[in-house]
C-alpha cells in the first residue's frame, strides 16, 4: 500500500510517511523509502505483530489495575463532520450573497486554468469573477489568472491532495466576493481525493479532456458521481485523436444519470458560449442542490 496517496499498487515512492516526519525504524527494521519492496511488507507484518503483542501487554496491564473501568461512548457522527459543517457555512455565505460557487475538479492538465483564462477574457467585464486556485505548490496558476484581471487567492496544500472547506473559508475571507458574483474554486488536479470534500459549492464541475481515456468515469467513479456538470475540453483536437465522445458520455451517465455535458475548446473557443450560458442559468436558478 502506498502511503503517499493510498494507492494499492506499485509505482509510487514510499517517501514521506507523514508530512514533516522523518522515516523511523520499527522493530529493528529500517523503513525503506525506496519502493514497495517485500521488506516493507515484512516490516508491516512485524509491525502488526508488535502491535498485537503490545495490545496483549496493554490488556494484561489494564487487568492488573484494580481501579480501571471501561466505558463505551456512542459517537455516531460522520468522520468528515467538521468539514461538512464548515462547508455548510460557506454555502450559507454564498447563498446569502447570491453567489454562484463552482468547484472545478479534474486530473492535472485537463485544462481547468485555460478554461478559466478564456472565461475571464470573454466574460470578465460582464460578470464579476473571484477565483480560488488550489495547487500543491507554486502560485503559477494564480499569476495566470491575475494577469486576466480577476481577484484570485492561491491556496498551496503542500503535501495535501485536495482542498478542504476550511481552506476555502480562509480564501473567501481574503477575496471578499461581491454580491451576485461567480466564485470559481479550482481544486487540486486530482481525480480521486477532492471528491470526498464538500467545499460549500453550488455546483461541482468535472473537466475531462479528450486526450484522456473515455473510460475515466468508470475508473474514477466518485468524482463523476458527485459532479453536476461534465466539461469535455480540447474538442479542437477531435480530428487528430481516436476519442469516442459518445462512449465517454455513456460511461459517465452509468455512474451519474443526472450529469450534464458541455463540449468545448478553451483554445479555439468552440462551445464556450454554452458554458457561459450554463453559468448564467445557475445565477438565476435556485442553485443550491445540496
Amino acid at each position: 500500500m502506498c502511503a503517499t496517496c493510498g494507492c494499492a499498487g506499485d509505482g509510487h515512492q514510499l517517501k514521506a510517511f507523514l508530512p514533516g516526519a522523518r522515516p523511523r525504524s520499527f522493530a529493528g527494521l529500517k523503513l525503506s523509502n525506496s519502493d514497495h519492496s517485500p521488506a516493507n511488507s515484512e516490516l508491516r507484518t512485524a509491525n502488526s505483530e508488535l502491535r498485537t503483542a503490545n495490545s496483549e501487554l496493554r490488556t494484561a496491564n489494564s487487568e492488573l489495575r484494580t481501579a480501571n473501568s471501561k466505558l463505551v461512548v456512542d459517537i455516531e457522527r460522520d468522520i468528515l463532520d467538521k468539514n461538512n459543517r464548515l462547508a455548510e457555512r460557506n454555502r450559507g455565505y454564498f447563498e446569502a450573497k447570491n453567489i454562484v460557487a463552482l468547484n472545478m475538479v479534474s486530473s492535472p492538465g485537463s485544462g481547468k486554468t485555460s478554461i478559466l483564462e478564456r472565461t475571464l477574457a470573454d466574460k470578465g467585464r460582464e460578470m464579476a469573477f473571484f477565483i480560488v486556485e488550489g495547487d500543491q505548490q507554486t502560485s503559477r496558476d494564480a499569476e495566470r489568472i491575475a494577469a486576466g484581471g480577476a481577484p484570485v487567492v492561491q491556496v498551496n496544500t503542500g503535501k495535501g491532495c485536495h482542498l478542504e472547506a476550511e481552506m476555502v473559508h480562509q480564501a473567501i475571507r481574503q477575496l471578499q466576493p461581491t454580491e451576485n458574483s461567480v466564485v470559481v474554486i479550482e481544486n487540486v488536479g486530482n481525480l480521486v481525493c477532492p471528491s470526498m470534500f464538500d467545499l460549500g459549492e453550488s455546483k461541482r464541475v468535472v473537466v475531462i479532456s479528450i486526450t484522456e481515456g473515455e473510460d475515466k468515469p468508470l475508473k474514477y467513479p466518485d468524482m463523476f458521481h458527485t459532479s453536476q456538470l461534465c466539461i469535455i475540453n480540447k474538442i479542437d483536437l477531435l480530428p487528430y485523436l481516436k476519442f469516442d465522445v459518445e462512449a465517454l458520455k455513456t460511461f459517465a451517465l452509468q455512474v451519474n444519470p443526472g450529469l450534464e455535458f458541455i463540449e468545448l475548446s478553451a483554445t479555439s473557443g468552440e462551445g464556450m458560449n454554452q458554458w457561459y450560458a450554463w453559468i448564467k442559468k445557475q445565477q438565476t436558478a435556485s442553485h443550491f442542490s445540496k
Binding site: 500500500m1 502506498c2 502511503a3 503517499t4 496517496c5 493510498g6 494507492c7 494499492a8 510517511f17 507523514l18 508530512p19 516526519a21 523511523r24 508491516r44 509491525n47 502491535r51 503490545n54 495490545s55 496493554r58 496491564n61 489494564s62 489495575r65 481501579a67 480501571n68 473501568s69 471501561k70 466505558l71 463505551v72 461512548v73 456512542d74 459517537i75 455516531e76 457522527r77 460522520d78 468522520i79 468528515l80 463532520d81 467538521k82 468539514n83 503535501k159 495535501g160 491532495c161 485536495h162 478542504e164 480521486v192 481525493c193 471528491s195 470526498m196 470534500f197 468515469p217 468508470l218 467513479p221 466518485d222 458521481h225 460511461f251 451517465l253 452509468q254 455512474v255 451519474n256 444519470p257
Partner: protein, 126 residues
C-alpha cells in the same frame, strides 16, 4: 493521501469528546463504520493509523473498522440489490437510475475509554 485527513478528523472528534467528558481517560479503541462506496482505502487507513495517532489522546488506541457493503434500490422497477460500483446496473431491468441505500457510510460509531487512576501514568505504546 486523503486517508491521513480522515484520521486527523477522527483525532479531532475523539479528542473533543474525551476532553468534554473530563477526568482522565485512555482511548482503548475507536470503532468506525466505512462503506465500500465511501472512497476510503481501509488498508491505507490501518497502515497510517499508528503513526498518525502518535502523541495524541488516541496514541495506542486500536482502530476497528466495520465494513458496510453497498446496496441500492432501482428507481425504475424497485428491485433491491447489492452493488460494488456506482455504475452497476439494476440486475432486473438494467437501469442505471438507482438509489444507493448503504455503502456510503463514513462514521465514527463508538469509542472505548478506560478510566485512568490519577497515580498511574499513561503507558506509552507503539
Amino acid at each position: 493521501m486523503h486517508e491521513l485527513s480522515i484520521i486527523q478528523s477522527i483525532i479531532d472528534t475523539v479528542e473533543t469528546e474525551v476532553t468534554r467528558k473530563g477526568g482522565s481517560y485512555r482511548v482503548e479503541a475507536v470503532v468506525l463504520q466505512i462503506g465500500t462506496l465511501a472512497g476510503v482505502e481501509t488498508g491505507s487507513l490501518e497502515f497510517l493509523w499508528p503513526a498518525a495517532v502518535q502523541n495524541t489522546l488516541l496514541d495506542g488506541a486500536e482502530c476497528q473498522i466495520e465494513i458496510v457493503p453497498g446496496t441500492a434500490v432501482c428507481s425504475d422497477c424497485g428491485t433491491g440489490f447489492s452493488m460494488i460500483n456506482y455504475f452497476d446496473p439494476c440486475p432486473n431491468c438494467r437501469s442505471h437510475l438507482i438509489n444507493v441505500q448503504t455503502g456510503e457510510e463514513l462514521k465514527i460509531k463508538t469509542i472505548e475509554l478506560c478510566a485512568q487512576p490519577a497515580d498511574v501514568p499513561a503507558t506509552a505504546t507503539n
